[in-house]
């Protein structure tokens, strides 16, 4: 739809509205090519959207099949059955898992956002010796594979007494290099004159950050927070290393239905469906800000 609007000819002021001149025989009407391109574009987008949505549909469709029909490949699940949800509810401490996962995801994303905001502010708005080198070190840390750091982190957590605790999942992940890099980009694009004006008005660096910068970064912070939350919500391996208990986080609970002795797909899909719901709700709430941030990032 936006393609058609952008490509539409602008009306000329004071010109009588007569409509387009009649097309010569064999000549294509004005705008037909644009419309065709628009339709083709929408068809492509619709197909891509279907590709994206279909796995989610299949997850919920499988979750509401009767246990004996769970491997059925018919597109519509019938008769509907919520036996898989009942089973998941009986077997897993789903309430505890949801709360634990929520606590871990909220704490991780808030901590990462805060650390990233402060670090990005320093890297983008401050001039200090070794800034480039320090930033390079931060970016370089991103390139170190998780497998290299997990055992040292594990040993460190043991020293802190945080093994088997939710805090142990959060503490080693409070710095997200991706978040630092993204926010640095946004702050660098922020008009320098506004920061200088705030300083001339007598605002401290701390005050400038919270009263000038942060209000203008809201869309970026919203989109980043949802990305960080989703990443923390979906994290499996690190919690599985730290939390050796049956009431850990939801992703590990889901994994409990997959085993060498057979995969319980109905339960996997029901538990996954439950795990997805908070993410959907979060996205719906922050949808406007997320779209704003992505559009701005794309146009810049």
């Amino acid at each position: 739809m936006p393609l058609a609007v952008l490509a539409a000819p602008e009306p000329v002021a004071d010109e009588p509205t007569q409509g387009p001149p009649p097309a010569e025989p064999g000549q294509k009407p004005v705008g037909e090519n644009t419309r065709r391109r628009s339709v083709a574009g929408h068809v492509v987008l619709a197909v891509l959207a279907l590709f994206a949505i279909f796995p989610i549909y299949w997850m919920y469709a499988t979750s509401v099949r009767a246990p004996e029909d769970v491997l059925d490949t018919s597109p519509l699940p019938w008769p509907l059955s919520f036996a898989s949800y009942e089973y998941v509810w009986q077997v897993l401490p789903i309430g505890k898992l949801l709360v634990n996962t929520f606590v871990v995801a909220v704490c991780t994303s808030i901590a990462q956002l805060l650390v990233a905001l402060l670090a990005a502010y320093a890297f983008a708005a401050w001039q200090f010796r070794g800034r480039g080198l320090l930033y390079l070190a931060v970016v370089g840390a991103w390139l170190v594979p998780f497998q290299v750091t997990m055992i040292p982190n594990y040993a460190f957590l043991n020293e802190l007494g945080l093994l088997n605790a939710l805090a142990g999942v959060v503490v080693p992940t409070v710095c997200s290099t991706m978040a630092v890099m993204l926010l640095r980009q946004h702050i660098q694009a922020f008009p320098r004159e506004l920061l200088d004006a705030a300083r001339m008005d007598g605002r401290t660096s701390w005050g400038t950050l919270w009263t000038v910068l942060v209000p203008n970064l809201r869309p970026a912070l919203a989109s980043l927070s949802i990305l960080l939350f989703i990443s923390a919500w979906n994290d499996y391996f690190w919690p599985a290393l730290v939390l050796q208990r049956t009431d850990s986080v939801l992703q590990i609970g889901i994994r409990g239905f997959l085993s060498a002795e057979g995969d319980n797909w109905g339960a996997v899909m029901a538990a996954s469906g439950i795990a997805c719901l908070p993410i959907f709700v979060l996205y719906l709430v922050l949808q406007r800000q997320v779209m704003d941030a992505f559009v701005r990032s794309g146009l810049r």
Partner: protein, 455 residues
């Protein structure tokens, strides 16, 4: 998913190995344990807390059974408190149990009792250094624990023994069983009461099923890297081969009997008797009733029963043979090992192991989880599993195979996972990608030999 699971476990193991190597190993306590003799029984009222690491606790469905048994143990031993925990990485297949224990050993928090798979036995004994149950409890007490009203199957007793010493107690395992769809048999004009007994018959029946029904014929879940090597070893041994020599110094999976066994399945794939499917695809095909025969761990029985119920007729038969040779089933599964340094905890750990391998525990484990009862007499005991066994005739082939059981052999050294992966990747390439069996397995054997420990 299974591949991801394996990569995760592999990464964990690799990192843990690296660190232990850098730190000069985990230290030896075996000699001290051996020299000190059996650990005395706990004093009445002596309070002890121990941890029990079990991959069964990572399975959502089984947690209730295992936790129920731990509660029962605490009732019987009020002075011992047991904290059950799943292994790190959340693996339910036991693929990362050694890595989990290893990383906990490094920070001085090894579980007091751990469930480790037999495929990790060599590495566990020589690198993780558990306290041998023989040293903790004494040989007589271990032999007494094997016995009782319903003794543990003779062939299962030494599965966790190495260098002549019993390190762990065999806990839960299964053998390869030929599950088959009796409905497809009938549609193909085959008699479901007479399942195939040789691989040649399996191939013949598979063609008949595919021709009559359009369903896939037969699949052996033993020939891919994901399947690990326990069942592949059964196929090789059934054809008179081995994967490693008796002195554990030479890899033998490229010798003619092994090559012939693998080539048999290559021919089945090329003739269309066996579909070119991944492990999970074959499991789903069987569950949907679109696969005629499926050589698979007997532990899958419960899942298959649930999928077949009301849809198709599930049956089970012993694993087929190569011609006139008697088939040699191997075991999957695990044993229980003690890692406590503290003597009181060692004793408490042994008490827990005795209980978890008792008739009472196997009655619950077999009836609620579906594992093979190692105390086979329970299936004839009205107070044990008699009623359950009568309701579950599928377990019979599995029990019969116990009499011919040969152990799943673990590879030696730090590189045991890489050796196994090289071998299984070569097998997969031969069977499903049509590579030349002799040259592919020989090349893998040569590369894997370089990873064997220096003798």
């Amino acid at each position: 998913m299974k591949t991801l699971r394996r990569y995760g476990a592999g990464a964990l193991l690799a990192a843990a190995t690296l660190l232990t190597t850098a730190c000069g190993g985990l230290g030896s306590t075996t000699a001290e344990s051996a020299s000190s003799g059996p650990v005395p029984e706990l004093e009445p009222g002596q309070q002890v807390e121990i941890t029990f690491e079990s991959y069964n606790l990572a399975n959502a469905t089984w947690t209730k059974t295992i936790n129920g048994l731990l509660e029962r143990f605490e009732e019987l031993h009020p002075n011992i408190t047991v904290h059950g925990q799943p292994p790190q990485g959340g693996g339910t297949a036991g693929s990362n149990t050694a890595a989990s224990v290893q990383s906990q050993l490094m920070v001085g928090k090894a579980p007091d009792v751990a469930q480790l798979t037999f495929g990790e036995l060599d590495y566990a004994v020589h690198k993780l250094k558990p306290k041998a149950v023989e040293d903790v409890a004494g040989k007589e007490e271990v032999q007494a624990a094997f016995g009782g009203e319903h003794p543990i199957a003779e062939r299962a007793r030494d599965l966790a023994a190495m260098d002549g010493k019993v390190y762990g107690m065999p806990y839960v395992f299964s053998t390869p069983v030929l599950f088959y769809n009796a409905d497809l048999f009938r549609k193909a004009g085959l008699d479901p009461e007479r399942p195939p007994t040789t691989w040649a018959q399996v191939e013949e029946y598979a063609h008949a099923i595919t021709k009559a029904t359009g369903a896939d014929g037969a699949y052996a879940d033993c020939l891919t890297k994901v399947a690990v090597d326990w069942c592949m070893q059964a196929l090789v041994r059934s054809n008179g081969g081995t994967v490693i020599s008796g002195d554990r110094k030479t890899l033998t999976f490229a010798e003619p009997p092994a090559v012939d066994a693998i080539a048999t399945f290559q021919r089945m794939v090329s003739s269309g008797a066996m579909p070119d499917l991944a492990q999970s695809q074959a499991m789903d095909a069987m569950g949907r009733g679109q696969l005629g025969m499926f050589l698979e761990t007997s532990a899958l029985q419960g899942t298959l029963q649930a999928q077949a119920e009301g849809n198709w007729d599930l049956r089970a038969a012993p694993m087929p043979s190569f011609g006139e040779r008697e088939p040699v089933p191997t075991n999957s599964g695990s044993a229980l090992f003690i890692f406590s340094e503290d003597k009181a905890k060692q004793r408490a750990a042994w008490e827990l192991i005795k209980f978890m391998t008792s008739s009472e525990a196997y009655t619950a484990i077999s009836s609620e989880i579906g594992y093979l009862p190692l105390r086979t007499g329970l299936v004839d005991d009205p107070d044990g599993l008699k009623a359950w066994a009568e309701q579950n005739p599928l377990i019979r082939p599995n029990l019969e195979q116990l009499e011919r059981l040969e152990p799943w052999v673990s590879f030696p050294g730090d590189n045991y996972v890489q050796i196994r992966d090289l071998m299984m990747q070569a097998v997969e390439n031969v069977v499903f990608q049509g590579k030349d069996a002799t040259s592919t397995l020989t090349e893998a054997r040569n590369r894997a030999s370089e990873l064997m420990p220096a003798s």
